[in-house]
């Protein structure tokens, strides 16, 4: 989500006093007033509305919502003047195929407005630009450029210019390796044989999108009056919308919009502010919202969201990017109607509530344990490799059948294979807590075989505890759920147990788990000073047996 900050004074002058009522209107418009003081206010804007992530864009939409300037806002667009052209060379086709461009003249920049322009650019990069992956924007002082402009792609070593924030001429590759912006965004050009560039009529390089502009044309300053704007990327429709968002904000700052001729194979003219037309049905609207609106009301509501309405058709501003379907317009109607004005209603439909059977069984099993004065614990499903293996006496390198996560931000990098190692961890973190400690947990464990198996397990541990005590708990549990189990000497002793004091738990000829006394060397690994006996069983067979 993007936040925008702007002057409270200007807001109060141009929109209205920021009293409680106004704060409520801001919330009901779908924006969140994050914070405000005497000077500034900060709004959180939802990511589906890049057209309002500038003060100008927000003001335009919000004034319509308040009912002050409803309907589609019209902007004057000037036809391309001589040489207002961008030649798109076929070399960009497989590199960065599209650009949409415009010129805005007669701007009067001050610090505040330059800051706003930089912020719009950054926020569009971040949101619809997907961190410049999808599109990048360049804004240049027009006086330093000789029109027409060419958009082409060259081999990186043939590209040589002084990038912004640098004093030295660099090649395309050098920029990616040495320039801060180059390093940040190098992955976006990685593997490309040619890099895209904008050049002017004197063959000066203006920029290398999506990385950096050239020092030659430089940044917008207070002296800048006219600007050239380009958006480049992979989806011409999005580029046009992005351009529209920028030029309308600049027009709201007092600029005049000029179109440019884009020389693709087929000529294109941008920006184009012709509204998009989409159908909205009064019936669908009323059905989805549970309202009983008349067409006249629908029209008023549509206009409050900055659209125009004409006989079932909505004229959508050319800067809105979020209208994919009629439901998006219906939501706009709902917002204009006011969420606070809907009367909540519960339809009378009879359905029967039902818990998952396995969850019921797990709860019953837990009740049996608590009846034995045992405490239930709740551990993460992710775990630390060292806890799962090394501390349990297993060499990490020998293990293969576990599930590893990619690039975890913590040292919890794998899914747990069993619960018992976590129960020992609980003991090890509670050596100062009163004994005896008797704990249990039910939950998922994960094993990688041909595919990832997710199993429901149950484990219990007692400290100080011996085999007899653990067996008493195990047998009580199965007596209470009326399932017969038997214990058998295992062929191979799991590494954390003492040989001769461990048994395999058998249900209907299937091994469902192990019970035993934990080996002192494992207790030492965990710094546990009490003898521990424990068991862990897989519940799938138990679920099956209980079904019968």
């Amino acid at each position: 989500m993007a936040n925008i900050k702007f002057s409270r004074k200007i807001f109060e002058k141009e929109v209205g006093k920021l009293d409680e009522k106004m704060q409520n209107r801001i919330a009901m418009f779908g924006t969140t007033l994050e914070s405000f003081n005497d000077k500034e206010m900060e709004l959180e804007i939802n990511p589906d509305r890049p057209d309002i992530i500038s003060y100008q864009g927000f003001k335009r939409s919000f004034l319509a919502f308040l009912g002050e300037k409803t309907g589609l806002k019209k902007y004057k667009i000037n036809k391309p003047e001589k040489n207002y052209k961008v030649i798109i060379d076929s070399s960009v086709k497989n590199i960065r195929p599209y650009t949409a461009c415009a010129i805005v003249k007669g701007l009067r920049f001050n610090d505040e407005k330059i800051k706003e322009l930089v912020e719009i650019q950054e926020k569009l990069h971040f949101t619809i630009g997907r961190k410049r992956k999808k599109l990048a924007i360049g804004i240049y002082p027009l006086e330093k450029i000789k029109l027409p402009i060419t958009f082409k792609a060259l081999e990186p070593d043939k590209i040589k210019f002084i990038p912004l924030e640098s004093e030295k001429e660099m090649s395309g590759l050098q920029i990616l390796q040495r320039h801060p912006a180059g390093r940040d965004y190098a992955h976006l050009l990685a593997g490309k044989e040619k890099f895209p560039i904008f050049t002017d009529a004197d063959n000066n390089i203006l920029s290398m999108p999506p990385i950096i502009n050239s020092q030659l044309t430089g940044k917008i300053t207070e002296k800048t009056k006219d600007v050239f704007i380009e958006c480049s990327g992979f989806d011409f429709e999005i580029l046009k919308k992005c351009l529209n968002i920028i030029v309308t904000s600049l027009a709201d700052m007092g600029g005049n919009i000029y179109q440019m001729e884009l020389k693709y194979k087929r000529k294109q003219i941008t920006p184009d502010l012709t509204p998009e037309k989409a159908k909205i049905s009064l019936e669908n609207t009323n059905k989805l919202l549970g309202l009983n609106l008349k067409e006249k009301e629908l029209k008023q509501l549509i206009k409050k969201m900055g659209h125009d309405y004409n006989k079932s058709f909505v004229e959508i501003p050319a800067w809105r990017t979020d209208i994919l379907h009629e439901v998006d317009l219906i939501e706009d109607v709902a917002i204009a109607y006011g969420y606070e004005n809907f009367v909540p209603e519960i339809p009378e439909i009879a359905t029967i509530g039902q818990e998952d059977t396995k969850e019921i069984i797990k709860r019953k099993l837990s009740d049996i344990f608590t009846g034995l004065d045992m405490l239930e614990v709740s551990n993460y499903h992710l775990t630390i490799k060292k806890d799962q293996f090394t501390k349990m006496g297993v060499q990490e390198k020998q293990e293969k059948n576990f599930v590893e996560l990619e690039e975890s931000k913590t040292n919890y990098t794998i899914l747990r294979k069993d619960i018992v190692h976590y129960l020992l961890k609980v003991f090890s973190e509670n050596i100062d807590s009163e004994y005896p400690q008797a704990i249990f947990e039910t939950g998922k464990v994960f094993v990688l075989e041909n595919e990832i198996l997710e199993k429901e397990n149950l484990a219990a541990a007692i400290a100080p505890g011996n085999f007899t005590q653990a067996k008493q708990v195990l047998e009580y549990l199965f007596r209470m759920i009326d399932i017969k189990i038997s214990l058998k000497e295992p062929k191979e002793c799991p590494l954390h147990f003492i040989e001769g004091r461990v048994a395999e738990i058998i249900l209907k000829n299937k091994s469902i788990g192990f019970i035993g006394e934990v080996h002192p060397k494992i207790l030492k690994n965990w710094k546990i000073k009490m003898p521990v006996a424990l068991f862990e069983i897989n519940l799938e067979e138990v679920f099956e047996a209980l079904k019968e």
């Binding site: 009901m28 779908g30 939802n46 961190k131 999808k134 989806d235 989805l288 919202l289 549970g290 309202l291 994919l324 379907h325 009629e326 439901v327 998006d328 939501e331 969420y339 606070e340 809907f342 909540p344 209603e345 519960i346 339809p347 359905t351 029967i352 509530g353 039902q354 998952d356 396995k358 969850e359 837990s366 009740d367 344990f369 608590t370 004065d373 045992m374 405490l375 709740s378 993460y380 499903h381 992710l382 599930v403 996560l405 990619e406 690039e407 975890s408 931000k409 913590t410 919890y412 899914l415 609980v426 973190e429 100062d432 807590s433 009163e434 400690q437 704990i439 994960f446 990832i452 997710e454």
Partner: protein
């Protein structure tokens, strides 16, 4: 209480010390009653509860002789020993003086310092010259007199003694100051009456034992010692469900009461179910490795018909939708993730529904995962619950109705709705509940109606699906007054034993 009853309530130990209370000295009472100090103090405590005595305690600072001090009291202070040597030799070299006086380095240094200060010696050319007169030699120094008199009470020290204390305190282990608590026992009028009355306790029954119960004569006609029912007993604790699971069961109860059926499913899911089926474009930031846990493994996609429908929904859109307009990649959809929301279960449920099953309501409750670091406010494992209503006649007002009812069940009377944005719902709503303590609206529940781009590929036609989910972890923290999200998986047994039951 009557005196008689009071007497019956006296424990054997209390009876034992009663005759000796006038001693007003714990040590003496111990001796005479033949009890240890802890028992005497506890009995005194009980007697006070019964208003037989009044106890008051006084703290005193006592100056005592230290380990070295005790030694010096016998052998003389180091400076005296050095002085005696000098008295004999008058002028001595440093090294020789230390050797002959048999002092440690520290003792020697201190002695030189002290004597110089008292002007009893002079130092010249690495030699010590004796300069005290006879009178000075014969008199005890303040320090010497002081250590002979120890122990002394700090509060009554004279200025000279304070001076000596200060100078000795800076030296190692000569003196030490101890705080002493003395207990003053005052016998109340009631106490006096009880002591004066003849106490017969031999017939009182203490603990009832199986032996006593064997023969009627053991207890018939006898008195039972009265207990002090207000005195404290050691705390015990019992077995208990983990508080998170108590809350989850409570959540389950609320959903089932409202007629919802539980959905469960795997934590490891394909990107298809977790993202694609929910119309989350493949370049959406949430699908990046920084936000979501990926597992380096792929899985086969479900039924081809659904996959094709989802693909179309993304690329071109369903009827009436523009879609996201990009080339949808089947391979990307096969990548495994740890589910980021239980909504993937809703998507799977929708894909299996048949027209005859409608209307239907479902809920899910459980863990979800985000690739996050851990602090008091963040974690990689999050609890979530959510419900969906699949009903051809459902509308936005119904959604608000369900939300209101759900919030009410969860204990929130005041709820307000405002517009929000979620990628797979339209319209979307954020429900805020009123926090009376903070006097402000707090974000509580996210909700919306699934987009037709989601429902049409899964259900075959765009039937409205109402969906909502509150932040469950946050709710548990409120229910149990937990401030740090890490507490949910900390398993501090001492805390778990003390944790209150959820009485809901």
């Amino acid at each position: 209480m009557e005196i008689k009853k009071l007497i019956e309530s006296l424990s054997p130990n209390e009876v034992k010390i009663l005759p000796h209370l006038e001693e007003n000295n714990i040590i003496e009472i111990c001796k005479k009653s033949n009890l240890d100090k802890v028992s005497v103090l506890r009995s005194l405590e009980y007697l006070q509860n019964k208003k037989i005595v009044r106890l008051s305690s006084e703290k005193k600072k006592i100056v005592e002789i230290g380990v070295n001090g005790a030694l010096y009291r016998k052998k003389g202070l180091p400076e005296r020993r050095l002085l005696n040597l000098l008295d004999e030799k008058r002028i001595v070299e440093f090294k020789e003086a230390q050797k002959e006086s048999n002092l440690s380095d520290d003792e020697f240094k201190v002695s030189i310092g002290v004597l110089k200060k008292k002007a009893m010696i002079e130092l010249k050319n690495r030699k010590i010259i004796f300069s005290a007169n006879k009178e000075e030699m014969s008199k005890k120094t303040l320090e010497e007199s002081f250590i002979e008199l120890l122990p002394l009470e700090y509060d009554v020290l004279s200025p000279e003694q304070l001076y000596a204390l200060k100078s000795l305190q800076s030296r190692k282990d000569i003196i030490q100051i101890r705080e002493e608590k003395t207990i003053n026992i005052e016998i109340t009028d009631l106490g006096k009456k009880i002591i004066d009355s003849k106490i017969k306790t031999q017939n009182l029954i203490e603990q009832i034992t199986p032996e006593i119960l064997k023969k009627d004569s053991q207890w018939k006609g006898k008195k039972f010692r009265r207990y002090d029912i207000t005195s404290s007993v050691p705390a015990i604790s019992g077995g208990k469900r983990h508080f998170v699971n108590q809350a989850i069961d409570y959540g389950r109860k609320i959903w089932t009461e409202m007629g919802f059926k539980e959905m469960t499913g795997n934590f490891v899911q394909s990107s298809f179910w977790n993202f694609d089926a929910l119309f989350t474009a493949q370049d959406h930031p949430v699908r990046e490795i920084h936000d979501t846990f990926f597992i380096n493994k792929k899985v086969e996609l479900p039924d081809k018909k659904i996959v094709e429908a989802v693909k179309k929904s993304h690329e071109k859109g369903i009827t009436g939708s523009k879609g996201w307009r990009y080339d949808w990649d089947k391979e990307e959809a096969k990548r495994l993730v740890l589910r980021t929301h239980t909504t993937c279960l809703s998507a799977q449920t929708l894909s299996k529904l048949k027209p005859k099953d409608l209307p239907a309501k479902f809920f899910a409750i459980g863990a979800n995962f985000r690739n996050e670091t851990i602090d008091w406010n963040h974690g990689f494992e999050l609890l979530q619950t959510e419900g969906i209503v699949v009903d051809p006649n459902a509308n936005f007002r119904h959604l608000l109705g369900y939300l209101k009812q759900f919030a009410k069940k969860m204990g929130f009377e005041k709820i307000r709705f405002r517009p929000a944005y979620f990628p797979y719902t339209e319209p979307s709503v954020e429900g805020d509940v009123w926090n009376e303590e903070r006097k402000e609206w707090v974000e509580y529940i996210a909700a919306g109606i699934f987009r037709p781009e989601v429902t049409e590929p899964l259900l075959g036609k765009p039937i409205p699906v109402l969906a909502w989910g509150p932040g469950f972890g946050r709710m548990i923290m409120n229910l149990f007054d937990v401030k740090d999200i890490r507490e949910l998986n900390k398993n501090d047994l001492t805390k778990l034993r003390k944790m209150k039951f959820l009485m809901k």
